[in-house]
Amino acid sequence: MSINHRLARAAAWMACAILAMPLLAQDQPPPQSSTQAPPDAAAAPADATPPADASVSDAPAGTLLSEPVDGAAQAPPEGGEPPADTRALDETVQGLKKDVVDLNRELFMLEEELLFPANTQVAVFVSMDIGEFFAIDSLTLKIDNKEVANYLYTPREAEALLKGGVHRVYLGNLKVGEHQLVAFFNGKGPMERDYKRGANLKFEKGVGAKYLELRITDRQRKGQPEFQIKDWE
């Protein structure tokens, strides 16, 4: 699908969603969820449910005002099942939410395509195996002598790498031609000693996207970690 076509589709969806909002707002009271409540209490409709505790409105400035939680107002009518029209409305809202999520995903992909077109795109990934001899703490990345990424890994992220996760540490654009990538790895090496190592690679950027992988592997014979850069064609 061409970018123009996608843009047109995204715009059409957006327009539909925006047009549908006032219609829905007329048909139903504002949602009770805290994440969707109106930002300003004064903007709430006149027929909105009043707060359970009237004293809340007298709270001094700076007091955190909680969302009114009125069990009676939210409870379904006695007998269990909500009315059919409410169910239908709920289904419509859920459908709209799904559309918005789909649209968001499509826009995200579109944004990546526009910001990082395939003919200039360069992505650098980090992977690790076993990690017996190296615990990663941070990574600094330079392309053509310019620092493009500096990433601190939390223990959870390091654990995710050890479990097979691959982290995209950099996504950017480069011109066609020869470039140099230098990566500095910081962390704890064998015997819990501070460890800093570098790896570099000269690579040729062609017309297609370029993917580079920084691999941290254990070299069992030497009892040391090994740092490699793999160029994925």
């Binding site: 994440t35 409540a37 930002p39 400035a61 955190l64 939390t154 223990p155 992220e157």
Partner: protein, 156 residues
């Protein structure tokens, strides 16, 4: 979403309230890196301090008391140094007897990202990662206010 005023002076507004909290990662005193966005699902208090600030000491002590009480309910407190003098900040942090992480080397843009204009200053981030309140300065009576606000966020 409710909006809050800033207690220290109600006329001042904090523009980030109601917006997603900027992500922040920095190295803690113990050497571990801490990333705020990893605590999504918890209520997070981020307290900004400096090694030359005496009031910060009192605020960190108060936050430690609160953290001990509400940690099991999903409260996380993180202290972030904004002092350029890292040696002084580290000395200050080591002198604090607090259980939560104190981050020493925050990125340069942290102060700008969080619109910090003085210390101590702290922000409350809800379970969805939205910045919900900010407090400048600290007075001993503020501790009760913090507890009230945090309990509300923890109950959401």
């Amino acid at each position: 979403m409710p909006f809050f005023a800033i207690p220290a002076s109600a006329v001042e507004r904090y523009e980030l309230v109601g917006k997603p909290a900027p992500d922040l990662v920095a190295r803690g005193l113990t050497g571990e890196n801490v990333r705020i966005s990893e605590h999504r699902g918890e209520v997070v208090v981020v307290s900004f301090w400096s090694g030359s600030c005496n009031t910060c000491r009192n605020q960190l002590e108060a936050l430690d008391r609160i953290a001990r009480t509400y940690a099991s309910a999903g409260l996380t407190v993180i202290g972030v140094n904004l002092d350029d003098d890292l040696a002084r900040a580290e000395k200050f942090a080591r002198a604090q007897n607090v259980q939560f992480p104190l981050l020493i080397s925050a990125p340069e843009n942290t102060g700008a990202d969080y619109h910090i204009d003085r210390v101590p200053m702290m922000v409350f981030v809800d379970r969805a990662g939205v910045l919900r309140a900010a407090h400048r300065e600290f007075k001993s009576r503020d501790e009760d206010l913090y507890v009230r606000e945090l309990r509300t966020l923890l109950n959401e």
